[in-house]
Subunit: 186 residues, 2 copies
Amino acid sequence: MAAGAVRRYDPGRRERIVDAAIRVVARKGIAGLSHRSVAAEADVPLGSTTYHFKTLDDLLVAALRRANEGFAAQIARSPAVADPEADLATALAGLLGEVFAADRGRAELEYELYLAALRRPALRPVAAEWCEAMAGILADRTDPVTARALVAVMDGICLQVLLTDTEYDEPYTREILRRVLGAAGG
Amino acid sequence: MAAGAVRRYDPGRRERIVDAAIRVVARKGIAGLSHRSVAAEADVPLGSTTYHFKTLDDLLVAALRRANEGFAAQIARSPAVADPEADLATALAGLLGEVFAADRGRAELEYELYLAALRRPALRPVAAEWCEAMAGILADRTDPVTARALVAVMDGICLQVLLTDTEYDEPYTREILRRVLGAAGG
DNA sequence: AGGGCATGTGTACGAGCGTACACAGCGCTG
DNA sequence: CAGCGCTGTGTACGCTCGTACACATGCCCT
């Protein structure tokens, strides 16, 4: 073999494989994810993906974690959620509006990874971490029970938008979030 | 071939294939669904499944419809939901409690089919029908906006139970449903 | 009564998959 | 500075998959 083409000591290799996995899932869905498709997308040999991730579940765990980080960063960038003066229902409904307006495909991707936990026990701890992290942020503005409920409501609304191919309705979302918050005195 | 083993003019064939598909999804998930696995489960030849359902999406559409009918029957069997005297939040929270207590696997199955609409456009109309049907039933007790919100909340709560492997919390669910209903004057 | 056509059957093909494994490069440790 | 071991590579095997297709069967319409 031509030794020149050999790329050795690639420190970011593992991360690049995760990035490639996310792109593959975004384009073809989890059903289209395989060691081979990821290898092609990341431009690494097949053996490299199987070396770093023994099973596809391992790869999905890494991908879900990475996707969660991306969304968490978007929340952190939203001052309205953290600002105690701002109306929480408005802030959250607006945040979801941004998500859908900016890149519906990304929302689809992140929910696909998240929902995959339904059938893949390996992903459930990661999904649970995400819920708790989200609820933790919101609990600062209300209380733990209400925070958990807000997460559930946002999940449910997003899901219906994505599953039934309808438009995201921000005023409606704001109204429902307000109801859940309202009785809590938030 | 021995003509005796040939089974011809099997009127329930199509329905039996759908039943078999549901059992396969329940046992192995959608990822384990194939023309071959369904054929084996239904005890029909491979060609029979490809004849009745050209694509797996066709089969999934039929399976989702059937699963929806099953759940709809369970709702119809619940007098508390229809009874205008009963408290709706209590009735719905109790209904979900029954579902999880009776057969968590069935809930998993039905959500897996439902959520598959995220990546399979062919399923989206069926998922949308289901949402509308559910919202339609609940709208009789409240109003269309609240009904849609109740469906979203129940979806979100069920999802978190299934995705994070936690116990279903009926009093919590009742409380949240009450908040969503409360502000609507339901 | 007979032919058309929907239904049912069996087999074969090519593609893609996870997995395994033997070998190559190279830093790190002793 | 020698060799162990982690990282990376290439190839091959056996399996399952969707699809296609040629042929069998018997109801239904004329």
